[in-house]
């Protein structure tokens, strides 16, 4: 279980302190949780704070009751937090198999790598020995990024806008991957997304606006407001 208590985050912009997140309190059980909200609402910042990439200005983070606020990225990863980047990172000379092995924490057999890649819709044999570099498309890199999280078998898996920068075909495939993840859920999945189809998979939706939690609940409660059915979502209508 992941708990965020009174998390705030400030950043400097042009000599001025800007408040990105303010008093975020959130408990994430072993469920599929989607965080959504307008651009600039602090979604990616929140994800990076959980992974340890950013340090909160105030507040505490607990994983299974252990305070991990001062833990490094590496320590959090070793404790079971996985993070899939919005913009996957490229490496010269490091192959897909190397990355899957690093993610798994051991040397993985080709058959094992193939099985994981197949799950994210990649024709495995074609990719095992490919370098994770600019020769791969954005959609391919996204799926490899997700495959790494699957290989890690983490307690908390964070996906920062997995739909960003991919084509429609890749997106359809991505939805199937997340639907399958939801069916076979082990641990918590925290997904940052704007996409209705991803939000529709979520057990719980958190709506962020201006660095605060505007609404939180199950998808039956939140989706109508987000889509303008019944009570329109004030935050979103004001924003756009």
């Amino acid at each position: 279980m992941l708990e965020l208590k009174n998390i705030s985050f400030q950043a400097e912009d042009g000599g001025k302190e800007i408040e990105i997140l303010r008093n975020i309190n959130l408990t994430i059980e072993d469920r599929f949780v989607a965080v959504t909200g307008p651009n600039g609402s602090g979604k990616s910042t929140l994800a990076k704070i959980v992974a340890g990439i950013l340090t909160p200005t105030e507040g505490q983070i607990f994983l299974d009751g252990v305070d991990i606020t001062d833990k490094s990225i590496t320590e959090r990863a070793r404790m079971g937090i996985g993070f899939a980047f919005q913009q996957p990172v490229r490496f010269k000379g490091i192959t897909v198999k190397d990355m899957i092995s690093l993610a798994a924490g051991r040397d993985t057999a080709v058959s094992e790598v193939c099985a994981i890649l197949s799950e994210v819709g990649l024709c495995a044999r074609d990719y095992v020995n490919r370098e994770v570099n600019a020769s791969l498309s954005g959609g391919e890199l996204k799926r490899i990024e997700i495959a790494m999280i699957m290989a890690r078998k983490t307690k908390v898996s964070i996906f920062d806008e997995p739909e960003a920068g991919i084509d429609l075909w890749s997106f359809q495939n991505l939805i199937r991957v997340f639907e399958k993840m939801h069916e076979e859920i082990k641990g918590a999945i925290l997904i940052i997304s704007h996409q209705e189809r991803i939000l529709n998979i979520a057990d719980q939706i958190v709506l962020l606006a201006d660095g605060r939690i505007e609404k939180m609940g199950n998808r039956e409660e939140i989706m109508p407001a987000l889509l303008g059915i019944g009570q329109p979502c004030k935050t979103l209508t004001e924003k756009f």
């Binding site: 990439i53 990225i73 990863a77 937090i81 490496f91 010269k92 000379g93 490091i94 690093l102 890690r152």
Partner: protein
């Protein structure tokens, strides 16, 4: 051969025992072993130190190993080896030099390799340089490679220097005839106060000739590197050079590319990138559970793989 020389052989030529096929092993300036085959002859030069390697036309799937090891501190040698590769051959040549210096005097090996590759022959040439020993004497390696590719011939050269060489000046020149293809892949890592210079000059003389020159290097601590490449297109040809360097600590890297087109259809490209390891690469690997140091090692290892 003693244990140190055996270790050097393993490092530079991957040899744990006597190789199959033709070979000539040189240790501390002397011949330590030789074998020839029906298709590959090795002849000691009479006018200076070195050998001629003659490969009969049509020889396929054979290899030649010609490693050099130096374990005597203060030894300085120059060796001249000429390779004559007949038409339609398809062969692999494994060279390489290892220096172990546990003394105070500099040990130095200068090897001049000339390749005469005849029509439609195909050669894979692997050259590894390695240094070891805890002496204060420098380990110096100055390889010179001269390549002549006849019509339709191809040569792929892999040159690697990963560890232990204090100073190196590596000069490679090539002339590429019609339809011939040259590929050079260089990997270098320097550390401490080491210095490495590489200098490539490739002239494409014939129509449809090509060269692809790829250099990847890592400079650590206070080491310095200088990369020079000149590609000259005198015909309709394709030339590409790429220099990628990772710079760490207080190291310095210079890249000086030069392209000269003397023909309207000469198509020449150069790419160069020098920079530190990207922070996002380190963070990505740290999110997989690696420490910052482990992440750095992994990135360097992959880059030079």
């Amino acid at each position: 051969m003693d244990a140190i020389q055996q270790e050097l052989l393993t490092q530079v030529a991957g040899l744990h025992e006597v190789p199959e096929g033709a070979y000539n092993i040189r240790a501390n300036g002397e011949m330590a072993g030789r074998n020839t085959t029906a298709n590959i002859d090795i002849i000691t030069k009479k006018d200076r130190s070195g050998i001629d390697i003659k490969i009969k036309p049509g020889t396929k799937s054979e290899s030649v190993h010609i490693p050099v090891v130096l374990s005597k501190s203060g030894l300085k040698e120059s060796v001249y080896n000429d390779f004559f590769v007949g038409e339609d051959c398809d062969v692999t040549i494994i060279a390489g030099c290892g220096i172990h210096n546990s003394g105070a005097e500099a040990s130095e090996h200068s090897g001049v390799h000339r390749f005469f590759v005849e029509k439609n022959a195909k050669v894979r040439y692997v050259e590894k340089h390695y240094g070891s020993g805890d002496g204060s004497g420098e380990r110096v390696m100055n390889p010179t490679t001269e390549i002549h590719l006849a019509e339709g011939a191809s040569l792929e050269m892999e040159t690697v220097q990963i560890k232990g060489i204090d100073s190196t000046a590596r000069v490679t020149t090539a002339k590429v005839a019609e339809g011939a293809c040259l590929v050079i892949k260089e990997k270098i890592m320097t550390h401490g106060r080491q210095h490495a210079e590489t200098d490539f000059t490739v002239t494409m003389e014939g129509a449809d000739s090509s060269v692809n020159l790829i250099s990847r290097s890592v400079a650590k601590e206070h080491s310095t590197q200088l990369f020079r490449s000149r590609i000259i297109g005198n015909a309709s040809c394709h030339g590409h050079s790429e220099c990628d360097a990772i710079i760490m600590d207080e190291a310095g890297v210079s890249a000086i590319p030069e392209l000269t087109a003397n023909h309207i259809d000469a198509n020449l490209i150069h790419e160069a990138a020098i920079g530190k390891i990207a922070g996002e690469q380190l963070i990505k690997l740290m999110t997989l559970g690696l420490s910052e140091k482990e992440a750095e090692e992994q990135i360097v290892k992959g880059f030079l793989k």
